[in-house]
Subunit: 332 residues, 6 copies
Amino acid sequence: MSKVINGINIPNIPWEEAPEGYELPLWRYSKNPITKRNPIKNVERVFNSALVPFNGEFIGVFRCDGVDQVPHLRVGHSKDGYSIQLEEDVVHFLTLDGKKIPDAHWGYDPRVIKIEDEYYVVWCDDIADSPTLGIAKTKDFKTFYKYDAPFIPNNRNGVLFPRKINGKYYMLSRPSDTDHTPFGDIYLSESKDMEYWGKHRCIQKSHFSTWNNLKLGGGPAPIEIEEGWLVLIHGVNQTCSGYIYSAGAMILDRDDPSKILYRCQNVILGPSELYETTGFVPNVVFPTSVLVDQASGKMAIYYGCADTCTSIAFTTVDRLVNYIKENDSINK
Amino acid sequence: MSKVINGINIPNIPWEEAPEGYELPLWRYSKNPITKRNPIKNVERVFNSALVPFNGEFIGVFRCDGVDQVPHLRVGHSKDGYSIQLEEDVVHFLTLDGKKIPDAHWGYDPRVIKIEDEYYVVWCDDIADSPTLGIAKTKDFKTFYKYDAPFIPNNRNGVLFPRKINGKYYMLSRPSDTDHTPFGDIYLSESKDMEYWGKHRCIQKSHFSTWNNLKLGGGPAPIEIEEGWLVLIHGVNQTCSGYIYSAGAMILDRDDPSKILYRCQNVILGPSELYETTGFVPNVVFPTSVLVDQASGKMAIYYGCADTCTSIAFTTVDRLVNYIKENDSINK
Amino acid sequence: MSKVINGINIPNIPWEEAPEGYELPLWRYSKNPITKRNPIKNVERVFNSALVPFNGEFIGVFRCDGVDQVPHLRVGHSKDGYSIQLEEDVVHFLTLDGKKIPDAHWGYDPRVIKIEDEYYVVWCDDIADSPTLGIAKTKDFKTFYKYDAPFIPNNRNGVLFPRKINGKYYMLSRPSDTDHTPFGDIYLSESKDMEYWGKHRCIQKSHFSTWNNLKLGGGPAPIEIEEGWLVLIHGVNQTCSGYIYSAGAMILDRDDPSKILYRCQNVILGPSELYETTGFVPNVVFPTSVLVDQASGKMAIYYGCADTCTSIAFTTVDRLVNYIKENDSINK
Amino acid sequence: MSKVINGINIPNIPWEEAPEGYELPLWRYSKNPITKRNPIKNVERVFNSALVPFNGEFIGVFRCDGVDQVPHLRVGHSKDGYSIQLEEDVVHFLTLDGKKIPDAHWGYDPRVIKIEDEYYVVWCDDIADSPTLGIAKTKDFKTFYKYDAPFIPNNRNGVLFPRKINGKYYMLSRPSDTDHTPFGDIYLSESKDMEYWGKHRCIQKSHFSTWNNLKLGGGPAPIEIEEGWLVLIHGVNQTCSGYIYSAGAMILDRDDPSKILYRCQNVILGPSELYETTGFVPNVVFPTSVLVDQASGKMAIYYGCADTCTSIAFTTVDRLVNYIKENDSINK
Amino acid sequence: MSKVINGINIPNIPWEEAPEGYELPLWRYSKNPITKRNPIKNVERVFNSALVPFNGEFIGVFRCDGVDQVPHLRVGHSKDGYSIQLEEDVVHFLTLDGKKIPDAHWGYDPRVIKIEDEYYVVWCDDIADSPTLGIAKTKDFKTFYKYDAPFIPNNRNGVLFPRKINGKYYMLSRPSDTDHTPFGDIYLSESKDMEYWGKHRCIQKSHFSTWNNLKLGGGPAPIEIEEGWLVLIHGVNQTCSGYIYSAGAMILDRDDPSKILYRCQNVILGPSELYETTGFVPNVVFPTSVLVDQASGKMAIYYGCADTCTSIAFTTVDRLVNYIKENDSINK
Amino acid sequence: MSKVINGINIPNIPWEEAPEGYELPLWRYSKNPITKRNPIKNVERVFNSALVPFNGEFIGVFRCDGVDQVPHLRVGHSKDGYSIQLEEDVVHFLTLDGKKIPDAHWGYDPRVIKIEDEYYVVWCDDIADSPTLGIAKTKDFKTFYKYDAPFIPNNRNGVLFPRKINGKYYMLSRPSDTDHTPFGDIYLSESKDMEYWGKHRCIQKSHFSTWNNLKLGGGPAPIEIEEGWLVLIHGVNQTCSGYIYSAGAMILDRDDPSKILYRCQNVILGPSELYETTGFVPNVVFPTSVLVDQASGKMAIYYGCADTCTSIAFTTVDRLVNYIKENDSINK
């Protein structure tokens, strides 16, 4: 049985058992989606969440597309992991030494990763009207200190590892172009200080004639298990009428995360429910955060649906790791 | 309170009050959509309507996409503003001096504007297999006299002002290319006689990184209010999987309609209901006509949904104008 | 009344009468769709079927898109023509002289056509990662013998005629490019032996500003009737937000199938139900097989919906032929 | 013999006889090109000229691409029709009532047409960063009065007829998109006053698989001859590595210039000399003005070469008209 | 030393020795190009020739782009292999049983291959305005009998092998799309009778990041040598400003020409002379025929330059084969 | 007079005086180009050089496109700055700690910058078949130590500043996509150790409707002068038939190089000579290195021509700085 390492116990993790006879690796929460359109004033859609346990409850940073259809970040609170209360104001950032920074034109697809006693937010930031990774840290989700442009455009989908490895921070990202990029591979970068990054390498390219034939990129923060780093990803399949975003998974080496040990050749969750197949961007399942209860191995995976709302899927570390190994395309 | 000028009273205007606690500027008719697929023989979809009060009831010109999926214009009648009875035959046109004109290959997205005692129809006409504005007039919706090619291709979304200003007719339009145009700004043109047009100027360009980042254009006929011309528009947001058409609004100077006094930075209605997010062209809210009751300020806005059906949204002039001013991006 | 020739009686053909007052040429099965997502292990979606009567029941070859979202072929069985039992294994092929062939990277959109005592499967095969027509034959749907690359890439939507004409086999196909091809016309090819093909000619091009303005191609196997070959086709209409696949029909000369006698200018079935307008590829109605009961003229048309599931539409030969003739665009 | 009508005598017209045995309709000036790179300060290239006889010498408005590579208009003088002296300053414009207008961002491809006692300049002007036709008039080439936006974007290659026809001004133009437009047909528009235009019609579309398969448009001002209006045009052939601009010709009806009487199916001059095949835009021959000596029928055609320099080609009205008729594609 | 097999002696083969110290595998004729623009009436450019020995002199079929810039085929004669006399009329075709066929819209890039006592012409023919291979045969270059559409569109660059192999005819071709195709691999097809073709296979795909990164295709007829079939090819490198066409070479197995024994990783001739780098399509070296003197191994390679003229390059079989082997990328 | 700072004296700098009456800021060497096609075995073209003074002579790293048309780096030697002797072998790299690294698939557009006692090479390297900046250092041009992937793809045109500023290394670069990128702005990045980079900012974006409307990027290493950092750049103008690469210039603040003090609105050298307008990529002037003699201010600018050969242009620091200031677009 796959064992979580360096995790925490989340006894109040959202949870439902799998439906009778259900065979797929993930199952949906029966009351999906957990967010609705126009949940609060000035917000049209909320999705691609980044939820973490916090003081016995849950907190997170959310992509909120405004009634002007421009995405910004907001903090959201949840007592139970299902119901989200968004804050009235958007997230503002200070420099590392505490000076105010003007709000960016946009901010989207945040991830929140706890490293030691800080919560790091990684999101798609705006430099000179080009997309790239922003990194900020907070202890209280009230004051956010932002690093000064640590990644050069054009880049998206940055995901930090939840601890240093061999004394370095590690980041997954998906270099892009300035627009709705028709390519995307997963890169791994390292840093001594979060400010300067280097030793970039491509760890996984998209594959011709697969569910990720156009692009693929990181999802939630990697989960440390005995076998390695359990990494959920998204991949994009280009059809004649648009993109299909699905969720996949792989397991990286714990000491050298540039090394893929297992890669699941199947999607672990693809768009099929109406709230996933219709909406602002049809056919999107986009996992961005996951709660893992170390004791039980239960996983509650938060994923964006159709760039319109947020949903939860459940599984256990054991069930997912078994599925990855059974459908592994690395060691066959 | 915003006051309508040069309007009429429409005591039988379709109307529902806003839902309890509803905060957005427009609300939908509870029985939307008001048209269904295949409403009469040879018509597959009817949308982008142009309804006006007529003899105590309502009449209009409708975009009807045939069972051959080619759009043509038909007259439709409505006693109550909800239920539409389309005529069996498509609209045919005569020259100004009454000679028959062969039917065009296509005709779509009509607007009907009453100026003095004539009803003017403006639509996307076909010149040599290129799209451009057609203009015709009728008094009875039985005989339509067509002007001889007043606008050069390529152009779409022509909207006449409901009265002469400084002795001239004014038209909004959105110059395009020959196909599914990836650009679009709003132009204003003037004419002494409807036949020859000039003094064209761009009054509003689409904006990078907004809900109209790809294009924007006129909607229903402008409504004259004390503050100026209340103009509903459509704007297009390009996602990675298609276009999002939403409705917006602005207010133009009454004497110089090339001057924008207020421009709402938010959408006033975006696609979110299933009949708006799915259909022939997903995610389309496209307002093309509006009934305004001068006495009460009630507005019944007809809009096309997903190029598939027709719906109504309600608001009042006052509520809408307040929303525009509160979210104005011109004077901030 | 149109009479089927060289057909068979299928007393147990799936059948429902047309709804009261229904005027369109085809009507949908009331319990559509007949397949669901994830019907068996490793299959995500099943559509674009190829069903034929077999031993008093039904059998067919189906396009199954795996949980890796890559399409392959599987045999499916049906007692009643509604419920499909897919086989656990994908279809494997032998050479004509019985040697094993490695499985191809993909296989999709099969048609099954009975000619004399063999069932021929024609599908989109993979040659060197390019799409083209594969042809195989089977007597028992257990052993499939594959012809050696009879068509050069790039090609799709091959459809064999159900008997030799003037001593030759005939095939409809739609030459393409290597990707989501933005063009497509119907070609007719002939062969003496299924192995070598020639005398290719274009019999129908796509039309500007019609429901098939982008491309059109063959559907199920042609049905021989007194008037000629009744051929169901698909056509593609390019909107600003994707492709619309609809079904159409035409009638070819029995002795010279390169000659079109009637061509219906309208779609006979277009995407309008939610299972047709949403899914993996929105707005797809794609007919690929049809059961015809010679005695009654009843037709049960199987069509793929949104690249996601399979549905049935009904009509009779008589009703369809009348509709084609009434809306004929050849002889007007 | 073809006779020029309403022309003038230009005894000092630039002229060389055709080379011995030369069979093509036009021949090049032996000292082409007549302009060089960087002819004066701040001008990098001068081409697409608009030369007219003036006070016994010649004068014109020239497209000058600056050392910033942005095109603007300058007046140029020539005593002999070969050597051009550009003015130091760019052309500035006044409103019709004499007020200063700020310089536009760009101006290019001017034509100069004398109508009665005014010289009209038509060029590609800038409205809101979109291209369209500008019209100005001058008597002395010192003061230019500009009409207020007579044509809506997007349009290029406007060419006025040198006299009113049936009391109306006529303009040829080539509607475009906002960029390097991949389409282009010739339209004819009419006006009573140069300010308002209407009755637009397409008189010639580009042809698939010909030397103008991508687009075609007007060239110099039409020349009135007994047979009709002799119109030189440009057409564009799209190769796999860029556009080929060549010159062609047609003859329009004198009383109804929307009617083409003869259209030469061959190019009359295509890029072949090194100064035409190489340069800023390789392979461009682009005729924009022509001097015609009524007495002799001699023609000196000025054309832009590779968007880099200006050249002259010679012919006679008679020789050219004969060639057009011999290679006519209208009446065959 | 490499020995030609089944060849002929051509004592009057065009020939020049390599320049002193010259190290590249091919060298150019010192008086290139051998054709000029506008060589005869109605022909603008002649290139991509197909020359063969004939009655002690030379004859061929040439791509002639007309003064209308549309390509057609003409017979050309040459006493010495350098100077070409084109016939006044274009090539017309009869059916195999001698009936007249209307001239096609276009015809280009012919190859002529002698098999037994017939000369076969293979070219890019027009079927329903789509490009594909035409095949015709002649004994006298006066009467050409054309096969009835042996290859389905879209295809180009067909090259026949000069003898049957294992009783079958073999053809190389490069399947394409309908336009300036952005892909291209070499396929091999076989036929028993030239009329019906099958058993198609891809023998060589284009390579990422090489001189043929976009496409590659066959050149002149294969030359039989002891080592196998010596095949000259063209490949296309896509730069930011257009395509580069260069010549390459490979050697196929004599008994199984789908098997590549050697493939030269370098170009053997690339565009560098002004007549190759400038013209109608800049940077094109396109070999289409070769004369080989069996006795001496001398090769005179005819190649099209910039889609504008024809040139010759020389080498010997021995020198070329050595170069291929030294730079082979198959066996390393 | 502008004074060079931290420069060196190069008494043997290549030099020619400006032609009589010449007014443009740069003038060409009278014997351009200085490299020819196929200069040594296996090299087809050499351009985009990086020359520096070395031991009283000159040495550099050159982009050499092989006879396989794939670019690699080679060291070249020059006694006089005009004649280049390329080494037989390509450049190989060691890790910083001296281990061999396999040769990359490609390497191009090198710059060489001396910082203290090391020569740094920055070029477009290959990571996982994507382009990005490589950095290596050498003292002797024999052994090159390469940093481990300091920049994430996709990036090109990296240029180091020749000394640390405020204790940090600075790099200009032009983030790109994976192909012939249709966008490009200049970014500035900083590093403490050459291995990890951060604090990226955009210092100059390309401008609509200018000579750099598509993209712009760095050229040779910045030159320190009293006014600031004199930076030569390249910019790209997109025409309808390809890209125009020209040279420009700007002056950055010495202490804060993200601040532009002057930016020349004109090109300082554009493609006009035949060796610049024709070749592998027509119309390219691409400056990549410059020799500056501190004593005299003489500048010898090496630039690539048409991706085909290398040329030199001359000016003085004073003349160039004056030109920049006279045509400055920052302070006007």
